[in-house]
């Protein structure tokens, strides 16, 4: 298997040095070889993918098509894709063949990209290790005894094992950035409202945001050019002017002000991870960046706030799974209520049930003010912290996750220790800010990501800042042993 970037594939296709059918076939063969071990894909449909590849080749032959025409991209199984099984990692949707395309999927189809398959994920995107998937956990290609992170762990593992050059992902509390960090990839969670949520199965609607995951910032920028954009079908989509995320990616970053929040380097951060982040910051200094100390004093509150808001929204969103019109329905029941209760008992996994119960509890009579309202007030404080910090810097940097990839089953018994994985990523979702993770080094042969947090709609600058780092470092080019064979 060749280690192609999206950018390389795009040029090869346009110069007619290869065809989409040829590339797609190569990836499908590699998936056949690697996936039984990694479990990164839930659904692969060779005929469908190859049919798209053929159409792409015809477009290219005619001299038509777009930058990504013919490039195979994997889709996280949270995105509805017409006539594709779309499970969201849940038994509840084990048989759900989507009757329509999510806007993100539609946009990739419209530019002639090839859907390479649907990637595994934590059930309904609830998890940081991919272990809550009904279709089994995903293995981290860097160390098969470890998790790839979550919830977009299937997308991350698929790219890391070179089963695809890029994949879509979603991030509600860190689900793009943490797996990108744990698998040595580049991932971007855009500003809330920049990428459409239409057809993206809802978890916590005020926090959910889709973004690209790939090996480099350039590749993520190419995917962003397809994904971003106003969508009237998403009521919280923002009518932001269309940007070209590639255009300024090569600009020098001399004079860039990088804010380092002291709370992101406090207790709880693995000391070896801290060293990697510090040396990455040194690299940025060499590129001409200026380091500024900032403070995000309410960082520790972001976890309690998130575990009120996200379950509350989830309990409401997931009430639609009732076994009536699609998905799993229990086989034995006494009456309507019994059918609902058994269908949901059987269809949802432990973590999803736990979060629905927490959400139902915090929203139940008498508790609304103490939990939901209080959390929304603290969310305001967290957002104000960022506003203040951005007065003295252009981007904020710190670790993406407190540690490298952990062992499978290590944190499954205690949900709270699992939740702490997202301590550095959750606050940006609460504030609606864009966040990114790029490879910054290794600890004991496991990848470490540095997080770049930008101001609202500053994705182009973040991708530029990431690209400048990747021009002078090789961390993002590292390949897990055996991934190409």
């Amino acid at each position: 298997m060749e280690d192609w970037s999206i950018k390389e594939l795009s040029s090869l296709l346009r110069e007619k040095k290869t065809s989409s059918v040829e590339i797609t076939t190569d990836y499908l063969q590699h998936i056949k070889k690697k996936n039984p071990e990694i479990n990164a894909f839930i659904t692969v449909d060779e005929n469908r993918s190859l049919a798209q590849a053929k159409l792409a080749d015809q477009l290219i032959q005619k001299g038509e098509g777009d930058v990504l025409t013919g490039v195979p991209i994997a889709q996280k199984d949270i995105f509805c894709a017409e006539d594709w099984l779309t499970t969201c990692g849940s038994k509840m949707l084990y048989n759900f063949v989507a009757p329509y395309d999510a806007t993100v999927v539609k946009k990739f189809n419209e530019v002639g990209a090839v859907n390479l398959g649907k990637t595994n994920m934590d059930e309904f995107a609830m998890g940081s290790s991919n272990e809550t998937s009904y279709f089994g956990g995903v293995k981290n290609p860097w160390d098969l005894t470890r998790v790839p992170g979550g919830s977009s762990g299937g997308s991350a593992a698929a790219i890391a094992a070179r089963m695809c050059p890029g994949a879509t992902a979603t991030d509600t509390g860190g689900s793009i950035r943490q797996p990108a960090s744990l698998c040595g990839l580049t991932g971007l969670k855009p500003t809330y409202g920049l990428v459409s949520r239409y057809g993206m199965i809802a978890f916590a609607s005020s926090l959910d945001q889709a973004g690209p995951m790939a090996k480099s910032s350039e590749d993520c920028a190419m995917m962003m050019n397809v994904m971003a954009g106003f969508d009237p079908k998403d009521s919280t989509s923002i009518d932001h002017k269309k940007e070209d995320y590639i255009k300024n990616i090569d600009q020098p970053i001399e004079g860039l002000k990088i804010g380092l929040p002291k709370e992101y380097f406090a207790e709880g951060l693995d000391s070896n991870v801290a060293k990697v982040i510090e040396s990455a910051i040194d690299q940025y200094k060499k590129l001409g960046a200026i380091i500024v100390d900032v403070s995000l004093p309410n960082t520790n509150l972001s976890i309690p706030v998130y575990y009120v808001l996200a379950p509350a929204e989830a309990s409401s969103n997931l009430s639609r799974y009732d076994g009536m019109r699609y998905g799993h329905r229990t086989s034995q029941y006494d009456d309507l209520i019994d059918m609902y209760c058994k269908t949901r008992q059987e269809g949802f996994g432990e973590e999803v049930k736990r979060r629905i119960l927490i959400g139902t509890y915090v929203l139940s009579a008498g508790y609304y003010d103490a939990y939901y309202l209080k959390a929304q007030q603290i969310r305001h404080l967290i957002s104000e912290d960022f506003k203040k910090a951005f007065q003295s810097c252009d981007v904020i940097m710190g670790p993406t996750a407190p540690s490298t990839a952990f062992k499978a089953n290590e944190k499954t018994d205690d949900p709270v220790t699992m939740y702490l994985q997202d301590i550095y990523t959750i606050a940006t979702n609460l504030a609606g800010l864009p966040g990114m993770s790029i490879p910054a080094g290794f600890v004991n042969k496991l990848p470490v990501g540095i997080q770049i947090i930008g101001n609202y709609f500053d994705e182009a600058r973040m991708l530029n800042v990431a690209h400048q780092f990747q021009k002078v470092t090789d961390w993002h080019k590292a390949i897990p042993e055996g991934a190409l064979s």
Partner: protein, 95 residues
């Protein structure tokens, strides 16, 4: 903040999730851990702080009341657990 076995069962019914006695006990332990984590919020004085319900302060868009969707009954019912004569079949609710 502590939560009782009976409360768990009540919430589970509200959430329409069947739960056994043993499951309720196991859930009780894990939920208590999460609720303790949430309790940290109590320490913060939020007097006069407005709640932030959304990341972007935008207002709900309105659209013209025109038909945009076509009838896809057959296609949408193809994935239903039980359908008869174009209707979804559910347990009897009215005697």
């Amino acid at each position: 903040m502590s939560i009782t076995h009976d409360e768990i069962k009540k919430i589970a019914l509200l959430a329409r999730i069947k739960i056994t006695e043993e499951e309720a006990d196991a859930t009780l332990k894990k939920l208590s851990g999460i609720l303790n984590l949430i309790e940290d919020m109590k320490k913060v004085d939020t007097t006069n702080i407005s709640p932030m319900f959304h990341a972007q302060s935008v207002t709900q868009r309105l659209r013209d009341d025109v038909v945009t969707e076509i009838n896809q009954r057959e296609k949408l019912q193809k994935i239903a657990p039980e359908v008869s004569d174009g209707l979804y079949i559910v347990p009897q609710v009215i005697e």
